[in-house]
Structure formats: C-alpha cells, structure tokens
C-alpha cells in the first residue's frame, strides 16, 4: 500500500516534470517526435534507477558515517557523470541494440537535472530505505516518460496548426506544457 502511494504520487500527483520542474530541458528539447521521446524516457528510466541506488548507498555508507554530507553535491554529480559514461561503454559491449536505441540520449543525461534531483530528494527523506528509494526513482522516471509522451503527441499535432507568428516554436510549446500541467493538477487529492 505504501509503495502504491509512492508510485501514484510520483507519477501523477507530483509529476517530476509538470509539478516539480525537473528535467525541463529534455522535456522541451527532445519532445518533438514520439519516437525520440520514448528513447529518452527509456534512457532516463535506466540511469535514474541505477543512479539512485548508487548515490543512496554512497550517502548512507560513506557520506553520513564520515560526517561529510556537505560533499553531497560534488560527489553526486561525479557519480552520475561517471555512471553515465560507464553505462554507455557497457551497453555498447553487452547489448548493441539497446545501445542503438538509447545511446545518443545518454550524454545528454548528465546535465538532466531530473536524475540529480531525484537522487537528492531520495537521500533527503529519512524514512526511505533502499527499496522505497528505488520504487520512487522508477515511478519518477515513469512520470517523466508519461509527461514526455503526452507532450510529444501534442507537439506532433501542433506542427500542423496555424499558430500566430510570435508564438511559434518555443512559446506555444511552453503554453501547451502549462495547460498540460493544469490537467495534471486534477490528480491532486488522489492520494
């Protein structure tokens, strides 16, 4: 039951993109087509889960015992950056098809604040154990994917519309995202 609440609230109620404002750059950047947004979401799901596990372990077993939690920012970003590199290298060797699908999105992920944000949020909650952290990370990534997919679907249609000149491109995309966020606010009270 507790896990269900974590999942629902991470996907719908406080969606990572539309309510938490994390991962906006890829949300606007690679949501032009449904296919690319699926690839990006897959890569995010993959990296976010691993990154949360590793950062949680490092935080609990290295930073906390030694009382150096002020090094959290610098160690997390280094962990995430090297993790992304490692995932890229391993994927290339182990599973070329998966690498082809996700490969080009991986370098973009280092500067995706959703990954770092979820890692920071997870260690900030004292009642989270590793399992809850993983559930939270997976659900957040699914929420990211859901928002990306919906948005990409809308934007594909938007390309065919006659939008006023000044609003073309980014402005209309942002307004659309706003309306989408408004729709997601309807989930408030679900949990």
């Amino acid at each position: 039951m507790e896990y269900l609440i974590i999942i629902i609230s991470a996907i719908f109620v406080s969606n990572i993109v539309l309510a938490q404002y994390l991962g906006i750059c890829p949300f606007l950047g690679v949501s032009g087509k449904v296919s690319t947004s699926v690839g990006m979401s897959g890569a995010v799901l993959f990296v976010m889960t691993i990154a949360t596990i590793v950062t949680w372990l490092v935080y609990q077993y290295v930073l906390l015992p030694f009382g150096i939690t002020f090094l959290q920012t610098i160690s997390f970003i280094l962990i995430i950056a090297s993790l992304v590199q490692m995932v890229e290298i391993i994927l290339k060797k182990v599973s070329p098809p998966l690498y082809q699908a996700l490969g080009i999105y991986l370098p973009l992920i280092t500067t995706n604040c959703a990954i770092m944000g979820v890692a920071l949020l997870t260690v900030a909650k004292p009642d989270f154990d590793l399992l809850k952290g993983v559930v939270f990370a997976v659900a957040s990534a699914l929420g990211f994917g859901l928002a990306m997919l919906l948005f990409a679907g809308i934007r594909e249609h938007l390309d065919l519309m006659d939008v006023p000149k000044g609003m073309r491109g980014v402005p209309i995309a942002l307004v659309t995202a706003g309306i989408l966020a408004l729709a997601f606010m309807g989930f408030t009270g679900l949990v």
Binding site: Y21, L28, A81, S82, T111, L121, P171, G178
Partner: protein
Amino acid sequence: MNQWKNFSKGFIKDNPVFVLLLGLCPTLAVTSSAINGLGMGLATMFVLVCSNMVISLIKNLIPDKVRIPSFIVIIASFVTIVELIMEGFAPALFEALGIFIPLIVVNCIVLGRAEGFASKQSFISSLIDGLGMGLGFAFALTLLGAVREALGNGSIFGYKFIEGDAILVFILSPGAFIVLGYLIALLNRFKKTI
C-alpha cells in the same frame, strides 16, 4: 567597446533564458516570487563568474580528454561553497530555493559557458562574459518572478498591492510555463522591431 558588447549580450540578444533556453528548471521552479528569482539568479551568477574565471586561468593545464570532468569538479565546488554560505547567512532563502541550489551544478548555462567560452577566451573576457550572462539570467528570473508574483499573489517583492487572493494559478506550476511562454513571445516581437 568590444568588451561592452561581450557584457551586454546576455541581457537581450543572447539571454540565457529567453533566447538560449538554458537552465529552464530553476527558472520555472523558483520564480514563484520576485525575491526568490533574484536570489537564485545571483547564486547562479556567482557560480558562473567564479567557474569562468578559474577555468580560463587553468585552461592550458587541463588535457583535452579530461576537460569536462575537470570543469564539473570546479563548478560543483563553487556550488557547494554557495550552498554553505547561503545556509549560514541566508537560511530563509536557502530553504525557499531548496534542492535547486545544488542543482545549479547541472544547469546547462554554467557548463555551457565554461565549455563554449571560458575554455577558449582570456581571463578578462571570461570574467565579463560570466558577469553579463549571470546578470542576464538573474534579470530573466527576477522579471519572471515579478510577473508571477504580481498576477498570482498581488504583490511585488513582497509589497502587496491587491488585498486578499489573486489569480493563484500563476504561482502554481501551470502559471510558470504559461508566463514564460508569453514572455518569450513578447520578446520575439520586441526583438523584431529594433
């Protein structure tokens, strides 16, 4: 004159938020009031200026292949310094900005300027570039924050000019997207006339 151009480009022509669309996460997240926007803008500016300076100084000492990891370490150190100083001397602001202070580290502007500008240019140019871009970012965040606060809370910088509630949706997440969308559209229009 050239340096002045270098400095002023960050405001309108190459504004990191309105034109380059970099660092949108903190832009949308912390601008529920003008003062938060200003605080975030200044914190980012500090990191940007410091990292630009340091990187332009040691650019020749860093082998190309480990360029990015070195930049990340330098940026992350300055972010942590900002974090610690804010926590000690401006605890209220530190709390309002929350996880978006450590997230300056993944703000594309900072790494973007380090990689695209400071690693190639002289110390003085990099310093001015950092100042200009940082001020442009702070300006954009303050403007967005002021508009959202005015529409959503009926106040600017905490000074209330409408009694009671205003159009609340503007300080919630949908308002952030919508206001930024319209500001960019306005700027597009404005840029064409000059």
